[in-house]
């Protein structure tokens, strides 16, 4: 296996507060990695630092060998990252299909002037329909997003992220807020996507689902690396147990 | 001596800006609303102050009642205007606020006439000479009042429970709610205090020029918007420093670049230059 994403020395400060302190993090091509840790451990901040939503004090980020540390967010996405949000953020003026089709058209909006003379949305809509099928919400495709249940919107986040054709899919608590049955189903869907060859990094608090579907764990606590490795052995480590039991 | 006089003029003007802008920045910090109608409360305060001073014969009573009147009006604006549209995109509240301000300005014009009002016998106009510096008593009173008010404000925000609650609510409304701070009460308080301060500033400005006009709020209100951006939107200390800096820059600017730019445009030239150099404003909060 080759390392596809390498994040080193990641340090993020908010005001006087150190949110991440010298974190080292890597992702292997094709694996399913779960990023876990107690609340406030800095998991979302780490994903935000990787995508450039948050500006780190220090960080060295390499995606497939290219240095992305100094690129703005949209360029990092174009190089192969995709992110879903913990609190769903659909475009509210669009339908489900339009949300995904917009993401699928990322090549058409790359150059501003050519976006003004490009009209056809058919190809993107077809692509979008396929992604909606992958996450199982194609029957909602023509509905406005405002009245849809959370379960559908969580899946919409995943479909929209897939539509930018990433090398790595970064999922921020995709299961949060769902009941255990829904969560289990969505976890299966995500595992399915992983089996199609997608590299996945997932932040998740639902440990039973995490242990069921992950290949490897990376544990953060208080903004620092705590542990990393194969799920079962990581969960046996005393420092991990201490962190989770509030030690 | 000219320099010192200009400097003092600048400080008086600047501290008045500060008293007005502090309310705006507090509201922005809490609600993310650019509260343009704040200037209407400033004008309302000035009118109330002049009318009530003329009625009662006491400037103190006039200022006090004006502050209460504008403060209550400020709370009403929060309740009746902003609260119902907080979940809408930000332009909705901004445009509503602009409409409200224009409506208020026109109402003042229609009710009190386009030429404004004056004090029957303007108090505190005697000239005091101090080391060759000529100041009117009202200028000294303005400066002293402003310093006291800012001091009280600092004390409230640093030392009292409600003030700490306000700062916590700005930082994180959900967490502060967990600690038993009612965010809605904090909002009412902010609107009351901010509007009362603006009203005091209004009366003092009326005193300095012995005139209240329907449009007197326009220029200070736009300038105070520029000030809160310079101060880093929502940052109170930054707002105070930016206000004083602007007052002084204007005082000197009118003398030295007055033939290039009129006084009221200096603030915005300053704002745009600062944003070009430091896009987050002088004092970014984060």
């Amino acid at each position: 296996m080759t390392t596809i994403l390498l994040a080193e020395y990641v340090t993020v400060k908010f005001g006087g507060l150190t949110a991440l302190d010298n974190v080292h993090f890597f992702v292997e091509d094709g694996e399913f990695l779960s990023l876990i840790g107690p609340n406030g451990a800095g998991k979302t901040t780490l994903l935000n630092a990787i995508t450039g939503v948050v500006a780190p004090v220090r960080a060295s980020l390499k995606l497939g060998g290219d240095d992305i540390s100094n690129l703005p967010t949209h360029k990092r996405i174009r190089m192969g990252l995709a992110l879903t949000h913990q609190i769903v953020r659909p475009f509210t003026s669009m339908t489900v299909l339009e949300n995904v089709a917009f993401a699928a058209g990322f090549k058409k909006v790359k150059r501003i002037l050519s976006s003004l003379v490009t009209f056809n949305r058919m190809q993107e809509k077809n692509k979008a329909t396929k992604f909606l099928e992958v996450v199982g919400i194609e029957k909602y495709k023509d509905q406005k997003v405002s009245k849809l249940p959370l379960g559908v919107l969580k899946r919409l986040e995943v479909a929209r992220a897939l539509a930018v054709e990433p090398k790595i899919l970064l999922l921020d608590e995709p299961l949060a807020g769902l009941n255990s049955q829904e969560a289990g189903k969505l976890a299966d869907t995500i595992k399915g996507i992983s089996k199609l060859g997608m590299t996945i990094v997932m932040i998740e608090h639902n440990l039973s689902e995490v242990l069921r579907i992950s290949d490897r764990l990376h544990v953060l606590d208080n903004g620092r690396d705590l542990a990393e490795g194969e799920p079962k052995s990581v969960m046996k480590m005393p420092q991990v147990r201490a962190a989770y039991l509030g030690g | 001596m000219l320099y010192i006089e200009l400097f003092i003029q600048g400080l008086i003007q600047g501290s008045t800006y500060a008293i007005i802008a502090v309310g705006l920045t507090l509201v922005y910090g809490l609600l993310r609303v650019l509260h343009v109608a704040h200037a209407g409360l400033f004008t309302l305060g000035a009118y109330l102050g002049v009318i009530l001073t003329n009625q009662t014969g006491s400037l103190t009573a006039g200022i006090f009642l004006a502050a209460i009147g504008s403060g209550v009006m400020g709370m009403a604006i929060y309740r009746l205007v902003y609260e119902p549209i907080l979940n809408r995109p930000p332009h909705v509240a901004l445009i509503a606020s602009i409409g409200l301000y224009i409506g208020m300005e026109e109402l003042f014009r229609l009710v009190f006439g386009p030429f404004g009002l004056s004090f029957v016998s303007a108090p505190l106009q005697s000239v005091v000479v101090f080391f060759d510096i000529h100041l009117r008593a009202c200028q000294i009173i303005t400066m002293i009042t402003n310093i006291i008010l800012l001091g009280i404000l600092a004390w409230i925000s640093q030392r009292t429970r409600i003030g700490i609650g306000w700062r916590a609510t700005v930082d994180d409304p959900e967490i502060s709610a967990c600690f038993g701070i009612d965010p809605v009460r904090v909002r009412y308080l902010v609107f009351f205090m901010g509007s009362a301060l603006a009203a005091v500033a209004g009366v003092l400005v009326a005193l300095l020029s012995n005139l209240v006009e329907p449009t007197m709020g326009a220029v200070p209100s736009y300038k105070s918007l520029a000030i809160i951006v310079l101060g880093g939107l929502g940052n109170v200390t930054g707002t105070l420093i930016a206000s004083l800096a602007l007052g002084i820059i204007e005082a000197f600017g009118t003398i030295y670049v007055g033939n290039l730019l009129d006084r009221d445009a200096i603030a915005f030239a300053f704002l745009i230059v600062v944003l070009m150099i430091k896009p987050t404003g002088l004092f970014a909060s984060r």
């Binding site: 949209h74 509210t92 | 445009i95 224009i102």
Partner: protein
């Protein structure tokens, strides 16, 4: 049509171009500009000065269009870098700066403005036709933008900038583009206005004018071309039809802006949609 109606129609046409151009910025892309009249003014002053030194109308209009767009792009660059609320305040500043600077410059006519602007070289009805052609072009252009992928991107930016970024969209450039396009169109409207009145003073391009343009967009329903055009016609004709309200014109604008935002933030367009939906439900 008498001369009065022709001149009224010309003003309405210019206002429509202004409102449609602001709608590109505020309606499509979600960015508030409180200084649109300044770009209107840049276009008017550019066209007026160049016309006076003998440039032909198509060149002066083009120059006003370009200069307003360039200044717009520069302002957009400085204010769109950081926070969304900056643009509103900076553009408001631009409104004051424009009037403040123009008033003090002798070559721009100072307080007295510029008079004796040459005629456009055509009769009033023909000039009205020219204005209406530009109105049509402006409307067609915004309709065209809405349908393109650029319009799709504007929708995304107006909905949620942060999410648009995490889907690989260069949000900043799109915002600047919207701003430059809208301000350039306002510059064109300014040129048309200069030839129409043949006399311009700085105060016409002040903050109140900016707010008037914003009212047209807001009352019409932010983002809706149809609603904006309708609201512009209504708001431009209102003081003419109801002469007696002239003294209350601003009060009415204020109340209208306030009430629309407070009670029906989607404007005329939203109102129409609501009626349409209700009928469908029955």
């Amino acid at each position: 049509m008498g001369l009065y109606e022709i001149s009224l129609a010309t003003v309405v046409g210019i206002n429509i171009i202004l409102a449609v151009s602001l709608n590109l910025i505020t309606g499509y892309c979600g960015q508030i500009s409180l200084g649109h009249a300044a770009f209107f003014g840049i276009g008017a002053y550019t066209a007026a000065l160049l016309a006076k030194i003998g440039w032909p109308i198509y060149l002066t209009l083009g120059a006003g269009f370009l200069l307003a767009g360039i200044v717009g792009a520069v302002i957009g660059l400085t204010s769109l870098r950081v926070r969304e609320d900056f643009l509103a305040i900076v553009t408001m500043g631009v409104a004051f700066l424009f009037v403040g600077i123009v008033r003090q410059q002798e070559f721009l006519g100072g307080e007295m403005g510029i008079s004796g602007i040459p005629s456009p070289g055509m009769e009033k009805p023909a000039y009205l036709c020219l204005v209406l052609i530009f109105v049509l072009l402006a409307i067609l252009f915004s309709w065209y933008v809405k349908r393109s992928w650029m319009g799709y991107a504007f929708d995304a930016v107006a909905d949620d900038e942060q999410t648009a970024k995490t889907l690989g969209l260069d949000v900043k450039s799109y915002k600047i583009t919207a701003f430059a396009m809208g301000t350039a169109m306002a510059g064109l409207a300014g040129g048309l206005y200069a030839y129409y009145t043949r006399f311009i003073i700085p105060d016409v391009f002040g903050f109140i004018q900016s707010i008037t343009i914003l009212s047209m967009v807001a009352v019409g329903g932010i983002g809706s071309i149809f609603g904006v055009v309708l609201a512009t016609i209504f708001l431009s004709l209102m003081p003419e039809i109801f002469r007696f309200i002239n003294d209350y014109k601003l009060l009415l604008y204020g109340i209208l802006l306030f009430s629309v935002m407070r009670f029906a933030p989607d404007g005329l367009a939203g109102f129409y949609k609501m009626l349409y939906k209700k009928r469908n439900l029955r």
